[in-house]
């Protein structure tokens, strides 16, 4: 027994030594980028947009023969993991990407519910991560390795509040949000803080993830005298909330946030959502330049106009690409290289993305403009107004 054990130990030592020696000095031939996306679960369309945008980016890189770092060209490989739209699965996916797949950097997760806990894991294991879509401040707060590609909820909350005030002159607001999800909860609070400076809160109602009946809360809101509802929910819930509100006799505006900006919103919600407003990252209708080029390419390939997740993922991929190129030289030691990429990411000060120009702050958050979109009478997302910090 004992002899067997010793020989196993020796054998594995030799294997490890050989393995390390073999790939150690020559450096990696390929760069692995991890993508952590909700391919299944509550918001699969978000996962699909992420995957399609990332794959389009990879096509470009492959067409160019790889990423140029210093004087060497590296092939790129994407490792796409499904986080099932769950917080714990997102952490698991990040751990797998970092420890098993040994990726250089991670794109995603998208929604704050997954990005906040997964960002903690990436920071702990010192791997740079960019969440393209997560607007909750906690995602990047005190985490040097975590970045994002979009504006923050403390900015988005006041944007919506001020827009409603300017546009309609309302004074009484109602909020309906999911108390069990980081993004709606955070944004609902930011909106409340901003609104209470310019008006009063008539109702502040909540539900929990997976609820489908909101009739009780909506009845309360209807009878509270509120002049509009702000509901920072994902597209599957938006459809149910808007329809149920209308069935309860609600005919005043319902306003949303960037989580509405999915190609699925109108498909699930139908005519009930026409004419409603929400704040978001970009408007596909009327885009120009690189943004239009991206939209046209995406549409030709996948048959529908990309939503903001797709566009933000595209930007995030290009930010990572820029950072890797700026590193200058990859050592082959994955830990060292990750640190180098993080430093390069932190050094990017100005970036021209298809979702607007960004300046990055110390926290790794971009400063960029928000867009107010109106869902037109044919169900398209129309640019209505731009709000800059």
């Amino acid at each position: 027994m004992k002899k067997g054990f010793v020989s196993v130990v020796i054998f594995s030592c030799i294997t490890m030594f050989v393995a390390f020696y073999a790939c150690g000095p020559s450096g990696p031939e390929t760069i692995k980028i991890g993508v952590n996306a909700p391919l299944t679960g509550d918001i699969p369309k978000v996962g699909e947009g992420t995957k399609f945008a990332a794959e389009m980016w990879l096509e470009d890189i492959n067409a160019a023969g790889g990423i140029q770092v210093g004087d060497k060209k590296y092939k790129v490989e994407l490792v796409i993991e499904d986080n099932e739209s769950k917080a714990e699965s997102a952490v698991k996916a990040n751990t797998k990407l970092i420890t098993e797949d040994e990726v250089l950097a991670i794109i995603g997760p998208q929604s704050s519910k997954q990005a906040v806990p997964a960002g903690g894991k990436a920071n702990e294991l010192e791997t740079p991560m960019i969440s393209p879509w997560s607007t909750n401040p906690n995602t990047t707060k005190d985490r040097p390795f975590v970045f994002r590609g979009c504006f923050l909820d403390p900015f988005q909350g006041p944007v919506v509040a001020n827009f409603v005030k300017d546009e309609f002159g309302f004074t009484k607001a109602a909020v309906l949000y999911d108390v069990a999800s980081d993004y709606p909860k955070g944004l609902a609070e930011n909106f409340k803080d901003a609104w209470e400076k310019i008006g009063t809160m008539a109702a502040y109602e909540s539900f929990t993830t997976k609820d489908t009946d909101f009739s009780s809360q909506l009845t309360k809101i209807r009878d509270s005298g509120a002049e509009f509802i702000f509901t920072p929910q994902y597209y599957n819930e938006v459809a149910l909330i808007v329809q149920q509100a209308h069935q309860l006799g609600w005919d005043k505006p319902i306003v949303g946030s960037d989580s509405w900006g999915s190609a699925e919103t109108v498909k699930l919600c139908g005519k009930d959502c026409y004419g409603l407003f929400f704040s978001t990252h970009y408007a596909a209708a009327g885009a120009t330049g690189a943004t239009k080029e991206f939209i046209d390419r995406y549409k030709a390939k996948h048959g529908y106009v990309p939503d903001d997740v797709g566009a933000l993922t595209w930007d995030a991929m290009r930010i990572v690409q820029t950072a890797i190129q700026n590193v200058g030289e990859l050592s082959g030691d994955i830990k060292k290289d990750r640190k180098a990429v993080r430093d390069a990411l932190a050094k990017i000060k100005k970036f021209e993305g298809i979702t607007g120009n960004m300046d990055f702050t110390e926290e790794g958050d971009p400063v960029k403009c928000a867009v107010i979109v109106r869902i037109s009478d044919t169900g398209e997302f129309e640019f209505y107004k731009s709000v800059c910090p």
Binding site: P44, G47, V179, S215, S216, Q217, N236, H246, G270
Partner: protein, 306 residues
């Protein structure tokens, strides 16, 4: 005013719980096991309903069989109930019959696994994208002095109560119903007297699944977003209703289903909605503390009612 509006809201929500709870309750009374796959059979029923409705609408649009919407709806309900009853019988044949003499815990676990297989099977078959249930009924909202009712709500509540009543009559008045009642009384001795256990078990699953399919279609009309995991939470809540009604009681399951709807709707009316489930399920727990066998259940497991 708000009270009456919420009464209507609660009736609709309660209809779903009642219809699903009936399936749990019936299977329990015959086989003494909870079919934990029932919530997912509800999901399958909703998807079958989606398929049938989409197919019929397409046929109607093509002009092959011009049908008015109400006829499409009726046919969808009937066909889906019929088809889903086979899903239920299949589940019984594959998952439960081989384990009938196995420990109860094994049979309960089977249900959970079948549930996961149905969910992920659907995921593989149709993908993760949510489906939008076709609107078969043009929504008409009526304003009765500040209380808003839609034609859908009236239809859902009326049909649900009608179906529960029909089941009750079936069990009370037919020979098959009598066999079910006998089986519920003692499923070891009654088969010895010539009542075919396998047939009765299959029929019970078929009936429960048909009701779940009806619930699935009504759900699709009320909340037109379908996803493969929609049956999990709803199934659990309906299971709570089945226990609350008294295991094995048709009347109990129906009433408890509506009661659960009432609790869930009225709690946020009084308390902040943040603590809705906390309060709602504390109330359920409290009821069970004082009536551990539910409303219509009896302490003797051998004397189950149906």
């Amino acid at each position: 005013m708000q009270l009456l509006q919420n009464l209507i809201n609660a009736l609709q929500l309660g209809s779903f719980y009642a219809l699903i709870a009936l399936g749990y309750s019936m299977v329990y009374s015959i086989l003494m096991l909870f079919n934990f796959a029932h919530g997912d059979i509800f999901m399958v029923g909703a998807y079958i309903g989606f398929g049938v409705a989409t197919g019929l609408i397409a046929l109607s649009k093509m002009g092959a069989l011009a049908m008015p919407n109400w006829l499409i709806l009726m046919l969808t309900v009937i066909f889906s109930m019929f088809l889903t009853s086979f899903v239920g019988m299949f589940v019984e044949r594959v998952g439960y019959r081989p384990l009938r003499d196995a420990p109860r815990a094994s049979a309960a676990i089977t249900g959970l696994m079948i549930g996961i297989i149905l969910e992920t099977g659907n995921l593989i078959l149709l993908g993760a994208e949510q489906l939008s249930f076709p609107s078969l009924v043009q929504t008409a909202t009526y304003n009765l002095g500040g209380i808003y009712i839609t034609n859908q709500k009236i239809m859902i509540v009326a049909l649900s109560i009608g179906l529960a009543f029909a089941l009750h009559q079936f069990i009370r008045r037919t020979k098959w119903g009598m066999a079910m009642r006998a089986m519920a009384f003692d499923y070891v001795v009654v088969p010895l007297m010539g009542v075919p256990l396998n047939k009765i078990a299959a029929m019970t699953f078929a009936l429960g699944s048909a009701l779940a399919a009806a619930a699935g279609i009504f759900y699709g009309i009320a909340y037109p977003v379908l996803d493969p995991y929609m049956g999990v939470l709803f199934g659990w809540k309906a299971f709570v209703a089945a226990i609350l009604g008294g295991r094995g009681s048709v009347v109990g399951a129906t009433l408890a289903g509506f009661l659960l709807g009432f609790i869930e709707i009225f709690v946020p009316m009084i308390f902040p909605s943040t603590i809705r489930n906390f309060i709602a399920y504390s109330i359920v727990l409290l009821i069970l503390v004082f009536r551990p066998h539910g409303f219509f259940g009896e302490p003797y497991s051998a004397r189950l009612r149906l």
